[in-house]
Amino acid sequence: MPGKVLVNTTINGEATDFRCEPRQSLLECLRDILQLTGTKEGCNDGNCGACTVLMDGRPLTACLVLGVEAEGRNITTIEGIARGSKLHPLQQAFLEEAALQCGICTPGFIVSAKALLDRDKNPSEADIRLWLANNLCRCTGYDKIVRAVQKAAAEMRA
């Protein structure tokens, strides 16, 4: 059986290394090895977006990335979104706009939306819906999520 591989990476700004089997997804490594359980599993095939993390600034579903592929990369998870002890404007807006009900999809949405706002300060409703189409929410009907992203964008522009 193939042995474990040492992976050197940066997670939420901190140099991190872990050992994993090649078959373990980045999602498994984050959750089971590094105990970063804020990244959620909903489908394990890239279709729900609950496990969205940023790799070198791009959002991707951690279930479709192998842990070994994180070598030398810069990973941001939901645990790394808040600014110190202050919530990120997206997190604050999700709370104020009641953009979560059960909350299981919320980490993925916030991470995806952060990637959007990092590149587009003033996205339209259509832009937001298109960008977030890889994140499923079953509770909200998306209405309040879209509004929260718009509100956070306005907050970040101010």
């Binding site: 599993e41 729900c48 979104i81 009641a98 059960c102 909200t140 009907g141 879209v146």
Partner: protein, 749 residues
């Protein structure tokens, strides 16, 4: 009667668990990690219907890293009895048989055996090494097929209960019931317009984003601790105890945060399996379902085959109605046809009604509740027929509904007479909503409306409130919080105590730590657990009055409490000031509330939908959507809107694309979130909401549950909109593009 003014109710505070949920800190079931924990995997049937001849676990058990392999034979096989599954009674044998198959598998995905190993990959590999010899039997997948005389029989001992009596006849029909009011046959003869149509709806899943999970530790002292995402921790406790045949006292269930349920996380599936694997290994065991297991191994909501016939006189007065509803229960009896039969004509005042309901077993997963279970199917049929009648009469469809709307005193065919209800108010709000009169321009566009009803459940709830010296309170409750109910419950306590909601710390605790509390289901949590919190807060106020009376040396009855301040004559003291003095006046104050409301009072909902249909592809775009619902008192309006928007989105998905697409041999072909096609953000418009508030007499603040009724009207509203856009009446869900295209072809233009 003047409307009471509230200081907390009706505001929109940030939820107490909010920071944890936007930072990833909240612990959901899959996040539970215990020292020495093993990982479980479940082997599931590849056949829809087969006899299990032999299970060989030798190879699986021999794989390095495997610690235990179990089958149904490892569980106690005591006599059958009836257990309460949370929203109804079920024979234990059905639940037991569904947890791990006994003798036969009844659907593809039926659990057959389970493994515990040092990691999930090994467990999964080991499950694949279990060898099961099956005798494959013919399967039956729809209610009409299962009701045929020559249909394969799922349960050789299932005797049909025919109109309340055991018939002596074995069939796939578990129950046939009938509700009769007046004489519908005679009344139809008097009708000027009669419309009768037959409808079919596909099996659909609740589609919560978090798969089922359970972690269990069977301790050396015989105590069993289960951590899981569930809508009802006490249901898990009681059912797990039944299946393991241990006293309830030995099972403790800690409900973790839960990633959606919609009714689907009431049944117990893997909790007893994790517990048994833990018993065998002496270590904690975590079992997680894959998405495919969720689709194939947990309860979706029934597909249905329905005929609805309605008759009106020439003024539009509804004088007769008949419905025949056959719902697919899945592998074990218990299709939600009972509620379907109670809801099918619940929005209308009709004197002559006959309703027949059939609970039919088929070789698909055992069905579970899904947001107003049974009502959406029925409303799709009724509300489409009502629309067609309005068209034949040349009447505005809202006027027809308003003219016949149920009101206080209207008797439903299944017996009860309504108390104060808001059907009329909801329909009027729809009619007066700007959406209903807004111009809808452009070709291939249409607007449709529909209304719907759901009962809401009451059930018991418990709550305690302890007063802290700084004037804050700790609120302990047992209702899993799926959508902000910690806050909507805390708000009701805060209102009574006259303190800010931020001064209430609500906590959801395990089954050892709070009184019995029913499921988070039936739209009941803000209603019933909120009621318990109200009672607990009242108990706090009563005890605090005694304290202040002691300090002031007056009678407790002379103490007044208003807006957070105690007073008697000239003397006054705030809640916080008194809280500081509790230690010196007799010790802690703990208030308790335990309620078992007789009735929740149902909720009505309406939907207005604008669509555009591409006449060349049959594709439907939802352009605008408005949900209208009666909320009694909206405690936290954002969360009420959220329920309405979420229910609407699920209703739209159900209407347009979602279905269990089955192969002829009973395999679900689309058991992934790619192919099941729930709506994405790009598939929906903003969903407008209109909350109708008329106080519910069954609750001290007038609350009505709002979680469910909103899913009932959308499919019919969309069907009616599609008719106006494309000229085709759809009688089958989902109204997917190919189905609409085929209907357009069939119409011949």
């Amino acid at each position: 009667m003047s409307t009471p003014t509230y200081s907390v109710l009706g505001t929109r505070p940030i939820r107490h668990d909010g920071a944890d949920k936007v930072t990833g800190r909240a612990i959901y079931g899959a996040d539970v990690h215990l020292t020495g924990m093993l990982h479980g995997a479940v082997l599931r049937s590849p056949h829809a219907h087969a006899r299990i001849l032999r299970i060989d676990t030798v190879k699986a058990a021999a794989l390095p890293g495997v610690k235990a392999v179990i089958t149904a034979a490892d569980f106690p096989q005591g006599p059958d009895r009836i257990v309460d599954l949370g929203e109804g009674d079920t024979p234990l044998s059905y639940i037991r048989g569904n947890v791990l198959a006994i003798g036969k598998v009844l659907y593809r995905g039926h659990a057959v055996a389970a493994v515990a190993a040092t990691n999930a990959h090994i467990a999964e590999q080991a499950a694949g090494l279990i060898q099961v010899e099956y005798e494959v039997l013919p399967c039956v997948l729809t209610a009409p097929d299962a009701m045929r005389e020559d249909a394969p029989i799922l349960h050789e001992d299932l005797e049909t209960t025919e109109l309340g009596k055991k018939s002596g006849k074995v069939s796939n029909v578990a129950v046939h019931f009938r509700h009769v009011l007046g004489n519908s046959e005679e009344a139809f003869a008097q009708a000027d317009v009669v419309v009768e149509r037959t409808f079919d709806t596909a099996t659909v899943h609740q589609g919560y984003i978090e798969p089922h999970n359970a972690t269990a530790l069977w301790n050396e002292d015989g105590r069993i601790h289960v951590w899981c995402s569930t809508q009802g921790s006490f249901v898990v406790r009681d059912v797990t105890a039944c299946i393991l045949d241990v006293p309830v006292q030995r099972v403790r269930v800690t409900p973790t945060e839960i990633g959606g349920g919609f009714g689907g996380k009431i049944p117990v599936y893997i909790e007893p399996v994790a517990a048994m694997l833990s018993k065998k290994t002496g270590r904690p065991v975590k079992v997680l379902m894959s998405r495919r297991e969720v689709f194939e191994g947990t309860g979706p909501t029934p597909g249905s085959h329905m005929t609805v016939k309605m008759g009106v006189d020439k003024t539009g007065r509804m004088i007769a109605a008949q419905a025949s509803l056959a719902y697919e229960a899945g592998a074990y009896p218990g299709a939600m046809v009972g509620p379907g039969g109670m809801c099918v004509f619940a929005s209308y005042n009709i004197a002559n009604v006959t309703i027949d309901g059939y609970d039919v077993v088929v070789n698909k997963p055992s069905t579970a509740a899904y947001r107003a279970p049974g009502a959406t199917n029925a409303a799709f049929a009724t509300e489409t027929v009502v629309d067609e009648i309005a068209e034949k009469l040349g009447m505005d469809p809202m006027e027809l509904r308003l003219m016949n709307a149920a009101k206080e005193g209207t008797r439903r065919a299944d017996g009860p007479k309504y108390r104060r209800i808001c059907c009329v108010e909801v329909i009027e709000a729809m009619k007066n909503h700007p959406h209903y009169s807004a111009p809808l321009e452009g070709p291939n566009r249409g607007r449709g409306v529909a209304v719907g009803f759901w009962f809401n459940a009451a059930l018991p709830s418990s709550c305690t409130i302890s007063v802290n010296a700084d004037g804050s309170v700790n609120l302990v409750e047992g209702s899993t919080d799926i959508g902000g109910t910690r806050t909507s419950i805390a708000m009701q306590a805060a209102e009574v105590l006259g303190i800010a909601v931020e001064r209430v710390n609500p906590t959801v605790v395990d089954t050892d730590s709070v009184g019995f509390t029913g499921v988070t289901g039936g739209s009941r949590t803000t209603f019933a657990t909120g009621y318990a919190a109200y009672e607990a807060a009242q108990d706090v106020v009563r005890q605090m009055k005694e304290r202040v009376a002691k300090i002031w040396e007056v009678e407790a009855s002379a103490v007044n409490f208003e807006k957070g301040a105690f007073s008697a004559g000239e003397k006054s003291m705030t809640f916080a000031e008194l809280s500081e003095k509790l230690g010196s006046t007799g010790g802690p104050v703990v208030g308790r509330g335990a309620v078992n409301p007789r009735s929740a009072g149902g909720s009505f909902s309406g939907a207005i939908a604008d669509v555009e249909v591409d006449p060349e592809t049959g594709r439907v775009s939802v352009l605008r959507f408005t949900s209208i619902q009666d909320a009694g008192k909206a405690i936290h309006p954002s969360y009420v809107e959220g329920q309405m928007q979420g229910g609407s989105a699920q209703g739209i998905g159900w209407a347009l694309n979602e279905e269990y697409y089955m192969s002829p041999d009973g395999g679900m072909m689309n058991s992934s979130l790619l192919d099941y096609r729930m709506p994405t953000a790009l598939d929906l418009p903003m969903i407008d909401t209109c909350i109708v508030e008329v106080a519910n007499p069954n609750h001290p603040f007038g609350v009505r549950g709002v979680g469910e009724a909103n899913i009932v009207p959308p499919p019919a509203a969309l069907a009616n909109a599609i008719y106006r856009a494309a000229g085709v009446r759809m009688n089958r869900l989902p109204m997917k593009p190919s189905a609409i295209m085929e209907a357009i072809w069939a119409k011949g233009n």
